[in-house]
Symmetry: C2
Amino acid sequence: MEDAHGTCTLHPSPSDLVLNQFDVDMECCNSIRFLAVDAINKAKSGHPGAPLGQAPMGHILFSEVMNYNPQNPFWVNRDRFVLSSGHGCMLQYALMHLAGFPSVTMDDIRQFRQLNSRTPGHPENFETAGIDVTTGPLGMGIANAVGLAAAERHLASTYNTNHVELISHYTYCICGDGCMQEGLSHEACALAGHLQLGKLILFYDDNNITIEGSTELSFTEDVTARFNAYNWHVQTVADGNTDLDAIRSAIQCAKEEQARPSLIRVKTTIGFGAPTKAGSASIHGAAVGAEEARAMREHLKWEHGEFEVPDMVYDIYATHAQQGTEQEQRWWSLWANYQKHEPELANQFKRAVLDRELPEKWEESLPQVSATDKALASRQHSQACLNAISDVLPELMGGSADLGPSNLTVLKKEKDFSHQTFEGRNMRFGVREFGMAAICNAMSLHGTGLMPYCATFTVFTDYMRGAIRVAALSKAGSIFITTHDSVALGEDGPTHQPTETIPSLRMIPNLVVLRPADGNETSGSYKVAIERSKKLEGPTLLCLSRQTLAKNDKTCIHKTSLGAYVVGESSDPALILVATGSEVSLAMAAKAAMDVEIRVVSMPSCELFRQQPRSYKDSILPRHIPKMSIEMSTTFAWMEFVDACIGINRFGVSAPGPVCEKHLGFTVDNVQLCARRLLQGERGCLSDGSA
Amino acid sequence: MEDAHGTCTLHPSPSDLVLNQFDVDMECCNSIRFLAVDAINKAKSGHPGAPLGQAPMGHILFSEVMNYNPQNPFWVNRDRFVLSSGHGCMLQYALMHLAGFPSVTMDDIRQFRQLNSRTPGHPENFETAGIDVTTGPLGMGIANAVGLAAAERHLASTYNTNHVELISHYTYCICGDGCMQEGLSHEACALAGHLQLGKLILFYDDNNITIEGSTELSFTEDVTARFNAYNWHVQTVADGNTDLDAIRSAIQCAKEEQARPSLIRVKTTIGFGAPTKAGSASIHGAAVGAEEARAMREHLKWEHGEFEVPDMVYDIYATHAQQGTEQEQRWWSLWANYQKHEPELANQFKRAVLDRELPEKWEESLPQVSATDKALASRQHSQACLNAISDVLPELMGGSADLGPSNLTVLKKEKDFSHQTFEGRNMRFGVREFGMAAICNAMSLHGTGLMPYCATFTVFTDYMRGAIRVAALSKAGSIFITTHDSVALGEDGPTHQPTETIPSLRMIPNLVVLRPADGNETSGSYKVAIERSKKLEGPTLLCLSRQTLAKNDKTCIHKTSLGAYVVGESSDPALILVATGSEVSLAMAAKAAMDVEIRVVSMPSCELFRQQPRSYKDSILPRHIPKMSIEMSTTFAWMEFVDACIGINRFGVSAPGPVCEKHLGFTVDNVQLCARRLLQGERGCLSDGSA
């Protein structure tokens, strides 16, 4: 074990212990290794390379280091663990099984990668209790670990007193070469170093092999120097296959380092122990087969059968798990004491963190817009919402990828979340969209009631789409605030103007996209977002205007959650115009200008409308009345709801916002023209933004 | 100027020259600065901060360093320039104007950010001749610069002889703090250092300010150490506002360094010269206004009016541009000589690079599948296509984000593109999807006929979506090869299974998405992709199966380009099933199983079908016959073409591929059931994958 900084004191175990310990360690590591090999062989599918190499670090974490209680995987002050190299999930399942998590029995391990099993092909928090975050897409787990560590620091700073450390845990993460190559690792780790998240400990499984072969092919950077540049504490373990004491010492050292996150480079052999395949790319992602498994048993002198674990190994893990159980018990005593001495904070902690409930009538704090209020952009309404609800929701925190002054997401009364003030609720993510989103996902999945939001321009959700998707899959309550939601943003031009962005986001399962038409619908959107966030139902994404929006006296906070409702009625409509966001006022203007009976429907959320009962949907959009959508986006998905569309099936243009709108067909005249064509029987896309 | 490595010799100008030179330099820099200020003030929109700070580096590049001929901005051996901080585009427009590019007259500058101007809000290669790549989305330009530098090395290695250097140019790039924070900069720069792209010179405008304020808020990494870790040569210019000789020396030094790319950190003041706003975030993204412009004129002793440039400044640029013109003339002599001595290579260079044409009958090399051939996965057909056409298309090169063995994208006869063998055509991108895509875009926009392809799993297009979008916008001929295109990939589960991915990619304007049903359609897809790539019409994205696909004797290479055509006919169809990719065979099986007259339409590309004449579309999908789509994707956009859908409006599951398909409703039985419901009058999504 070498310390890149030479500042750390080592604490080797006494040598008599080391001798015995080695055999015990190997027995444990090999239990993990063969569980992985056997399960992957049985499934004829999976990734044995990583678990075989990572078994020692995993073993030490789960049998000695980490605080957890397998009987209550949701204990708020447990240490968190992220397997960023999620393809190696048999490592995590084997460790959880040995540790006694009821979610991973031996039967579960035998069902590896089968339908409805609790041991799917990558770790999934929503399938397996005890898995903190869903991983697999590379780099994401590292960013998640940063988010978990940030959540810990924030809660510690918010709730701990001089006498009681209510929240104080470590976050451990294992990643491989792939994660290190991903840009996401740069964003998250640079920010973690900046924030001085000293309780984050990242193991880098440094095995010199990626899928295509040696890392010499594409990956020759000096990772140690790079992480030093990020203000991390870096150590190297020269033999991560068998030198478990070096791993132990490195962890101890990393814990002693308080000011910087720690990277432990662990040199391992991919597929360690497999006689013909170890050290090669061939063992990364395919079952080794029966013959190699047999030879491996011989090679490692492993005399146990398939899916067999020596009792001694179970005993070692049981002893450690018992300590975790006791630690949780002590925590509850601490909590009882805290409630006596800090009744006010304790009440907040109980509601926000333990019970994960919203305060009663919290929604009354949402701004309601009245006829006399000034017309504003929806990003301004959003700013008002955030600042209003943040008073009653101390668990709401977040920020922007360096667009705070444009996204209007700064909480005016709150401090910055920084290493001096971790209790601050304004996060300064820097220009790191993907990292930001993945960090927010993990802050939500920290499971302590935090409601993280993050912001960028609508079009730059493309940069963080991978994290939005995993938020939706893993039911993270992230709130994605996007502004500058159409070509009406103007001069910045097509690189900044979303046209396909919003419809493409609506494709993501379990993501609710909301595009409010004005202040009331913005408040209504926050109502949806906050409730989804707190209940860990999944993420919500808001699309907000840069430009000022006209007001509509029929918009409604509560109806927003229906997804669509009537904002411009007529006694016997011949035509229905369906619009979203800024286009609702255009639809209203067209209604006013035409001598046809027109209903205008505001549809802030297609997803929420889709969830309504058929009767409601038919009442809003009756089948027999011709319907036309108006939205400054691609039209392809609108035919689910309407018969004809006005949209933009092209990229935008650089010009002042109103000029863009006119140039692309968003005028009362063009809406009238298209409405007449619809009434005459035309169907489909009637205006697509082509000149 | 300080050299981080101490290995570089400085060449200061004689002091008598320095004295005069300073005033001249300032006159030039201030010309640029005031063009920026005036244009942005006139537009009342734009980003003055960056051009004011970057004027000195831009000035030296365009007036002394770079080889270019403004009269022929497409000269193949010109130096390339990328403004990665694209919001500061008035810098680039001012420089191009001074240099005499016909595309940027003073009238164009006065039209900054107006409709149909050649000076849009961010640099756009498709609007302004002389702009190499479209920038604005941060980090993208750096990755583009890496791609341009890679293209140069490849062409140099392929075509240069001991006697003639046909291709030998530098790539210059200017970026800011935002670009440095983006993960994309990590991916691209780590790869550039690995590849030893010594002719890449990156200026980092190190001004300590981002939109939210000081970089102290979020960005405190040691950039120099980070780039040293990437194997870059790093220098720092301490005063980039006025010490132009230091910039000159640094460039010279960077050119002398051949083995490593160069980073030049230039310490500047954002908004330099603006008396009240310089050095603050307020000048980043808003016009300074008339008063500040007046005060700035006073402060910088600038006695010229708005949009006025001293003749001396024009003269300096004209002299340098004249040298560029002469350089191009010398290049054409070189080329004439080359044609004599290397007739074979010259022929190839003329066709592939200068004329950018495909060889006659190249498409005959595309594999045609016959009845006796073995059934394969479409990724295997793709492998056959790539290896077949690469023989006749030496300009085809590319690789995967470390998934070569899964994507099957390795050219078997070709070497790796590495610093020892830049002529190699197999690129090893590492696990860097976003960087990979942005690099490919730039290799195409290098304008020398290269046809770059890059590959990953379909679902991980989410990681590179920002670059796919800009490819489509900027008409880059990138070929995006994606495999594992549905839940049928099986055990890897929902993190790896695209369900919304393909429909969401179809939303991107000017991207052609193809999902071939078998070998012939895979060949047909490559025909489309190659033609689009060579003509710089825009990118093409292929969605290929992991699993083996049944063959269909009616599929056709040439009909693929129609987007949709009949592959299973019936004399008088009562029902049309529209399917893509792997689902075509399911549709055929359902047709065979049902006692109803059914037409089966294969629709490899919605975009290509949309482009066909109405008569063709009506002949394939007649309005009066009920139609149902079958695709293992979200259904929301299918209602444009059909009356009912079978799809997956949820995330996938981890299980063997055939189990996944069955679980999610992709069985002959379920298709029959849904078909009957459709015939009975039901409409909409009839099967969405819910259990």
